[in-house]
Symmetry: C2
Subunit: 124 residues, 2 copies
Amino acid sequence: MAREQIDLTKFETEVMSVLWRLGEATVREVQDGIDRDDLPAYTTVQTIIQRLEQKGAVRRTRKEGNALFFEPAITRKSVYRRLVDELLDLVGGSQPLVAHLVESGKLSLDDLRAIEKAAKKSRK
Amino acid sequence: MAREQIDLTKFETEVMSVLWRLGEATVREVQDGIDRDDLPAYTTVQTIIQRLEQKGAVRRTRKEGNALFFEPAITRKSVYRRLVDELLDLVGGSQPLVAHLVESGKLSLDDLRAIEKAAKKSRK
DNA sequence: GACGTTCTACTACAGATGTAGTATGCGTCG
DNA sequence: CGACGCATACTACATCTGTAGTAGAACGTC
């Protein structure tokens, strides 16, 4: 299972997010699920979903009335992994990244401790 | 000082990385500084630098012979911040992100402790 | 001062991306 | 069963990106 990586654009990733959240949805539902000030047109979302379909990131599941339902065909995790890896590559590793988070106040010492604790537990 | 955000593409970011590393450099030096299997053509790098210049991310410093020198006009930190923020937005916060790093083995418990220690110290 | 070398400026261009319109089809409600 | 409305399929298009070629200017070397 070759698991070729699919490259997603920003907007495509946004749409995937909605689909991961909903599990399955129509174009209309995806559009409604997008969190933005000024929503893209219905057909815009439709186009993105079509492209995602071509890329193999999404597949049709069923039809209800004349509306199609779509679901993710790739996992959230695989996409996150790629994005995280890219960022790590840029900043020079996870240590610097986390340090940056702490430094900029996006992660507290308490957070760190909580994660540590959870990690220890799950490792057992 | 409005500090408008400059949006960089992947390649542009790569070029900025070289510039941040070198401090100041000619097109030729940037090209040499790029870490890739198959290097982009000289003029390709030149074009990217020109675009960066237009975006205000880079500025000319001096001329030596007939070659121009360029330096970053925006900080590494500001760019990282933006990228990190975007990722955080997607994955839902720094806690999940770090958890993901630990889980995927990209960050060890020892790393966590080291960061914690450093953070504690620098905070004083 | 003529030449070859090396830069810069400008131009080109295909493919990706965001954005959306149009035409046409299928369903449903009276 | 006919009309209205929403959905889909297809088309369009301006920008952005990555990529690089070409023309002409500036240097350094004989």
